[in-house]
Amino acid sequence: MNKTESLKKKLLGTPYFIWSVIFILVPLGMVFYYGLTDRSGVFTLANVLAISTPEHSKALWIALFLSVIATVICLLLAYPLAMILSRQKNGRQSFIVLIFILPMWMNFLLRTLAWQTLLEKTGVINSILEFLHLPALNIINTPYAIILGMVYNFLPFMVLPIYNALSKIDINVINAARDLGANGLQVFLKITLPLSIPGIISGITMVFIPALTTFVISKLLGGSKILLIGNVIEEEFTQASNWHLGSGLSIVLMLFIIINMLLTAAFDKDGEGSFL
């Protein structure tokens, strides 16, 4: 490559570079600055270590616990769905994919608020159940409602990468396995599942990270009774105005996300499963 060409490429990259600096690097730097200093601007690890206090670590564990459960449920729901989807004829495939993406066009907050209305003690679902003389469903303001909200909101992010990975598998590879004597279960365990792992991994990342960091779902569907780490951090910023503690806890959360990303990178070397 000659010099002018490389210069041109650099020039084209400038807007993205400026964007990254302003919206990624600067905020990140600020988080680290606030997280590692106290109000007088002196370096301290206290904000990060504050995660070990009972109320903070409890919030972290609940968040981890609920998001793991939500991720597992998403995976169990999404895999068969993606399989069915990948086996449809082309025209119908894109239609079903559209149906899945459609709710994602609506605001995330609105969708979650809708669930609040549906699940309320005197909400839509309970009215119908009452009408049918069935026992009422009392899951609003419980961890179940939070998991439901997570699964509902993040399911498409699990379905799409898995679907993407599955539809890349050559039908003749499946046929070859059957030809060599494998039955349906063996084909699935030895061929389909291993070949779709990049999709699974990237689906897990795309569900687990937003689930772990959410504070909206827990706020709207969990009432104020269940605090996730996301809620704690949010409150430090909005109510307690303690940016230092909020940033310190954010750094801890970031650690978990980085661990997750590293695991993903290790499994998904070719970037095959990435959808977005």
């Binding site: 003749n172 070859a176 060599l180 494998a182």
Partner: protein
């Protein structure tokens, strides 16, 4: 004659209302190299897929070694397939690929290791055990696909255009490789291709197909020298296909001139198609030939000259080692045994001349 191993009886298959195979009957003998040859859409791949168990016929039955296997799933059939684009398991090493079928059958580790060694040696890829499929060239991948199939000791190997994705030189090498393999293994090969040269080189028997019908079954020599209809003549090699009239047994009239031939049994004064291969056209001085013509094109092809000669309003394709410059008046003659007489297609269904690839 060797015994019949596979018998396809009255096989019909259509996709979305489109008839792909119509009442196909075909038997395959043990230890035979049989090629299904035809243009795309002729039904050759569908026939192979029905044999492999990946499609089930709408009508008819597949008899394997005396047993009806029409409804048997692929994993229960004693035949293995080599797919067009190799279809290797990309997440496994070469050794794991080859071992796949044997592990399913729960063979011992020692047996499997032996077989992997043997198969890799057979396809000239010793020492490739721990490589990944992606790191191999197309030709190597195809040989692994063959190795993966033959370690299972199938009685029949189905090959679906296995050389289609390879370049010319590699394809020719692989053709000899396949003949050698077939002789070493002593099993039946059923080979699908649209490449007539490939079919002529490797096969014991060629089945020429078009539009879901079998056009002709025979040895390569028979298919080439005595095509039964215009489609076969046109599809296999270059040929001059000419409207003619059979005057009587052993006498045919081509462009108003009578030629002695060797065919009998076509009746008297009956319209027929005549096939004359370009290398069988004899050029001479205008006075010496039965027909007179003028050379209109001349190309040097290495082994021979390719000429086009216009005579009686027809462009004759001629291959000859003798050269006649463009514009030369020449005489045309054909030896009686080089004139192949064919019946005109009797019905629409039999009308065989389709679009070539």
């Amino acid at each position: 004659m060797k015994k019949v191993l596979i018998d396809l009886k009255n096989i019909s298959k259509s996709f979305d209302g489109q008839m792909v195979l119509d009442d196909l009957n075909l038997y395959i003998r043990e230890n035979e190299f049989l090629t299904l040859l035809g243009p795309s859409g002729c039904g050759k791949t569908t026939t192979l897929r029905i044999l492999g168990g990946f499609e089930s016929p709408d009508k008819g039955s597949v008899i394997f070694d005396g047993k009806d296997i029409t409804k048997l799933p692929p994993n229960k059939r004693q035949l293995n397939t080599v797919f067009q684009r190799y279809a290797l398991f990309t997440h496994m090493t070469i050794a794991e690929n080859i071992a796949f079928g044997l592990k399913i059958k729960k063979k011992s580790k020692a047996y499997i290791d032996d077989k992997i060694k043997y198969a890799l040696k057979l396809v000239n890829l010793d020492g490739f055990e721990n490589r990944m499929p992606d790191s191999l060239s197309g030709g190597q991948q195809q040989r692994i696909a063959i190795a993966r199939a033959i370690v299972n000791e199938p009685e029949v190997l189905l090959l679906d255009e296995p050389l289609g994705a390879l370049d010319l030189k590699l394809r020719q090498d692989m053709q000899y490789e396949l003949i050698r393999l077939k002789n070493e293994l002593g099993i039946t090969f059923i080979y699908v291709t649209h490449d007539q040269e490939e079919a002529l080189t490797m096969s014991d028997t060629i089945v020429v197909m078009n539009q879901g019908y079998i056009q002709q079954i025979g040895s390569p020599e028979k298919i080439y020298n005595e095509p039964e209809n215009a489609f076969v003549a046109d599809f296999i090699g270059d040929s001059n296909i000419i409207n003619a009239t059979m005057i009587e047994d052993k006498l045919v009239e081509i462009f108003g001139t009578r030629f002695p031939c060797v065919d009998t049994g076509f009746g008297k004064n009956k319209p027929v198609d005549v096939v004359i291969r370009p290398e069988d056209v004899i050029l001479s001085s205008p006075a010496a030939g039965r027909l007179k013509g003028v050379v209109t094109h001349l190309i040097f092809k290495g082994v021979h000259y390719e000429m086009e000669v216009t005579a009686c309003g027809y462009e004759w394709l001629v291959h000859s080692t003798g050269m006649y410059p463009v514009g030369t008046e020449v005489g045309i003659d054909v030896d009686p045994f080089n004139i192949q007489i064919m019946n005109k297609p009797a019905s629409e269904d039999e009308e065989a001349v389709g679009t070539n690839e």
